[in-house]
């Protein structure tokens, strides 16, 4: 089978970008999307042309490095899938496939399909942790955590930080990403001591990075490779209000 690829090429953060078209790219239905880009790149390199730049690493859908908007959909048409787990069997012979990078002011383009997601790291640095000195922890079973709570915390903690939620959001909002970490640590007893300062700090940083606000379209949830739900956004909202009422009361 053959497809036509329109891939966004941009030589640097401040350069003008444009689509480059690769016609009649031979592909195998069992190939992953990134393997198709590999094929294009091997050809380009052999011709002495610069390969298409894209982030990728584990190719198992867990590292969160890969991602691009394929035919208008973050990570492409797959369900609960990263780009590396999207296979060409999701397309038809002769399809034209458009590929462009995540678009958000907080994710500036580095080159071609590669974007800078360090804003996510800074959101975590603003409070997405439990301050615990190595060696000072009590026994792991000292604090029982009911299975339902542990399971819900785990759901939230499965976030891979790929940025698809931002890419798919009409407002380029990072609420799903931020709320997943706020909720994961807010649900478990270990996270309680810093619960208020965490949500205040992380929401502050999220806004400072230039992400948009949430208007409850739920596009993030639909694009999330881990299926993290918007109920965690509600929990972030509640925690933020709680933290404010708490600080106002003091």
């Amino acid at each position: 089978m053959k497809v036509t690829l329109k891939v966004w090429r941009q030589s640097g953060p401040d350069a003008e970008g444009a689509f480059e078209t690769f016609t009649d790219v031979p592909v195998d239905p069992a190939m992953s999307f990134l393997e198709m880009l590999d094929t294009v790149n091997v050809q380009l390199e052999a011709e002495g042309k610069e390969p298409v730049v894209f982030d990728h690493d584990c190719r198992e859908g867990i590292c969160g490095a890969c991602g691009a908007v394929v035919n208008g959909l973050a990570h492409g048409p797959g369900k609960r899938s990263t780009l590396c787990q999207l296979h060409l069997r999701s397309f038809n012979d002769g399809d034209e496939i458009t590929v462009e990078p995540w678009r958000a002011s907080a994710f500036p383009v580095v080159r071609d399909l590669m974007v800078d997601r360090s804003s996510f790291d800074r959101i975590i640095q603003a409070g997405g942790y439990v301050s615990v000195r190595t060696g000072s922890a009590p026994d792991g079973n000292a604090m029982p955590i009911g299975k339902p709570v542990a399971d819900r915390a785990m759901e939230a903690a499965t976030c891979i930080g790929c940025g698809a939620c931002v890419a798919a959001c009409p407002n380029a909002s990072a609420m799903l990403f931020t709320s997943a970490k706020v909720s994961h640590l807010g649900l478990v007893p270990q996270g309680q001591a810093e619960r208020d300062s965490r949500v205040l700090g992380m929401v502050d940083q999220m806004d400072a990075e230039g992400f948009g606000g949430c208007t409850n379209h739920r596009e993030c949830e639909a694009a999330c490779p881990k299926g993290i739900g918007v109920e965690y956004i509600a929990q972030l909202n509640r925690d933020l209000v709680r933290a404010n009422l708490g600080s106002a009361a003091k």
Binding site: E35, D38, C58, H87, A137, A157, T158
Partner: protein, 644 residues
């Protein structure tokens, strides 16, 4: 073999005396840095996986300044994140007879008596602290209904000591370490350098005092000076090209350290993981692992008849060979990885493959679904089943999984002493990058344990012993050693850029991988290894003549990154083959066909090979020298491993 130019200092510094108190006595004996002086020292940590992130965070908590580096866009993406199954710890929460001693025993035995006993005992000791630490960070380990931590069993053990977070244990542990690292970054104690690749270790007056890096965004080459350097740069499984490692995993950092005098230990000890999705075609870029935990409930089988092409549902039980249960009745489907892998290979070699024209065996959940119900099976393995279906298009609920062994983990690595220091003073190696704890074969769920043990609980103490003897605050990047290293990096880049061949670096990597798998893979022979040596040399020659790296060196250039890593893999491949060739025995994952028992198990030669083999760089175009660290087994007496 050449006479070594400079003898390596292979003093393991492992304490003598009772093993139970060895670590305590060692900590008592080594030097400490005054708390007020710690902030005057800077430590470079390369790599932000489990070992690197936990070491960086802990060193910063202690007061040291840390400069951390990773080639990924974020420290959260290191390949530790892909570990699925779990992490071992001798908590004995299940009350099933586990203990520190038993974990120690299982690990030494599982490693086929090729690891240092004192290191392994320490690993088992701190394993319990790791779980406590991770729980306190908020890692959402699986729990039972009473709210207590849950465990499962894993290959090579008769107790349930594996802690897990669904099939994403590595992810959760890494995110725990990453959050601890993030806290220290926010506090300014760790300076994080992302998208930065280490290309040289800088040795000043015989001690590691810094690194030279390339900023992958801009192509800029920079020097960073420090009082000590820690490599947490992972394993070299991608030497086989088709491996379960992430695409970015590479040997470059370790290789550059080797060329600066760090001994490389047991490079031929590469683990082949038994349960990966089989190779399906040349279009593939990697192989995907399916957690070993699947063997808890899945049954491995092949048709009894050769060349049986019936679909699995039409093969009655009487015509199926559940070969692991048949050959190893005690451990059954839970035999260690090397044993399971070789058994699969034997079945396929006998013509009983289940992948037409290829290689594979079945891992069947039919009986588990009948016994436990579909929901319970989905609860345990749902995300793994989904992953399998996404890649292959088949649902393991409906039809057995097809699996086959693939390169997964490397027990070999930079030689380190009990303090985790390499043969270069001031240069440390932690996690998969070192060779220390797994011997010739690693047990399941022990990689995460070792990475975090090194990073949280061992290195942060032992590094003080070296730093206490150093004048704090080395920052002279204008030193000739830095300039020379920068020049070497620039020269290498220029050479790669100047080549105008017609092939991509990936092309050579695939060729190397094929060669290594063929000659130095799951089963090795003297003839095969001897034939491989000139082939690797030829490949190296062709690479430097025929590769084409487009673009330029002073900008973001992924083709250049790939080419540099492939070049190092080719050079490394030679040492790996030499190691496999000289180790004339079978042990753990290293299987020389000439050395096997009557029932096809590995036959060790303890008289001649009860040692670690350490390779030292002797210069360009000169064969490396081989050194040995003899191993002593005072507690676990070497025996023929039996899992029957």
């Amino acid at each position: 073999m050449n006479a070594p130019r400079t003898p390596l200092n292979l003093d393991s510094k492992a304490p003598d005396g009772p093993i139970e108190t060895a670590w305590d006595r060692h900590r008592q004996a080594i030097r400490l840095v005054n708390p007020a002086n710690k902030r005057k020292y800077t430590v470079i940590v390369v790599g932000t996986g489990l070992a690197g992130a936990s070491a960086s965070a802990t060193l910063a908590q202690l007061g040291y300044n840390v400069e951390a580096f990773c080639f990924q866009d974020s420290p959260r993406r290191a390949h530790s994140i892909a570990a699925q199954g779990g992490i071992n710890a001798a908590k004995n929460y299940q009350n099933d007879g586990d203990s520190v001693y038993r974990l120690f025993y299982d690990t030494v035995k599982g490693g086929d008596f090729r690891a240092r006993e004192q290191n392994v005992y320490r690993l088992a000791q701190v394993s319990v602290d790791i779980i406590d630490q991770c729980v306190a960070q908020g890692v959402p380990f699986a729990r039972d209904y009473g709210g207590m931590l849950a465990n499962r069993s894993f290959g090579g053990a008769l107790v349930s000591r594996t802690f897990y977070a669904r099939g994403q244990t590595g992810q959760q542990l890494l995110l725990g370490a990453y959050s601890a690292l993030s806290e220290q970054i926010a506090k300014g104690k760790v300076k994080m350098h992302t998208r930065t690749e280490m290309l040289e270790v800088v040795v000043v007056d015989g001690k590691a005092k810094g690194i030279v890096v390339r900023d992958l965004r801009t192509g800029a080459v920079r020097s960073h000076a420090a009082d000590a350097v820690v490599l947490a740069t992972g394993g070299y499984g991608n030497v086989f090209y088709f491996a379960t490692n992430a695409k970015g995993c590479n040997v470059t950092a370790a290789w550059r350290a080797y060329k600066k005098g760090a001994g490389f230990a047991n490079p031929c000890f590469t683990q082949i993981h038994p349960t990966c999705i089989p190779f399906m075609g040349e279009h593939q870029s990697k192989l995907t692992l399916m957690s070993e935990s699947l063997r808890n409930d899945g049954r491995v089988w092949v048709p009894k008849k050769q060349g049986d092409t019936r679909p699995p549902s039409q093969i009655p039980d009487a015509e199926r060979d559940y070969y692991l249960e048949r050959i190893y009745p005690t451990f059954g489907n839970l035999v260690p990885r090397d044993v399971a892998s070789r058994a699969a290979k034997r079945m396929v070699d006998e013509g009983k493959t289940v992948v037409p024209g290829g290689m594979g065996v079945y891992l069947d959940f039919r009986d588990a679904i009948a016994r436990l119900g579909r929901d319970a099976v989905a609860d345990r393995y749902g995300n793994l089943f989904e992953m399998y279906e996404r890649i292959t298009g088949d649902s393991p609920f409906e039809t057995p999984m097809k699996i086959y062994p693939a390169s997964h983990y490397t027990m070999g690595g930079l030689w380190v002493d009990y303090n985790l220091m390499t043969t270069v003073p001031g240069l440390y190696a932690v996690g998969e990058a070192n060779f220390s704890d797994h011997g010739a074969n690693r047990l399941g769920a022990s990689a995460l344990m070792q990475g975090l043990a090194d990073g949280y609980f061992v290195l942060p103490y032992t590094i003080g012993d070296f730093l206490a003897g150093e004048k704090a605050g080395f920052d002279d990047t204008s030193h000739a050693a830095f300039k020379d290293a920068e020049k070497a990096v620039a020269q290498r880049t220029d050479t790669l850029m100047s080549l105008s061949g017609t092939k991509s670096a990936d092309h050579f990597h695939r060729e190397l991988g094929h060669l290594m798998w063929e000659h130095c893979g799951m089963a090795r022979t003297k003839e095969g290894l001897e034939a491989a040596l000139p082939k690797v040399a030829d490949l190296k020659e062709r690479f430097w003549a025929e590769v084409n790296v487009p673009g330029s060196g002073d900008t973001l250039n992924q083709a250049l990154e790939r080419a540099g890593r492939v070049a190092d893999f080719i050079e490394f491949g030679e040492v790996m083959v030499r190691d496999a060739l000289t180790r004339e025995e079978s042990c753990g994952a290293h299987f020389r066909e000439e050395f096997q028992t009557a029932d096809n198990e590995a036959r060790r030669d303890d008289e001649n090979f009860q040692h670690g083999a350490i390779w030292a760089y002797e210069g360009e175009g000169v064969a490396p020298s081989r050194h040995i660290e003899p191993l002593e087994f005072r507690y676990v007496k070497p025996s023929q491993r039996s899992y029957k």
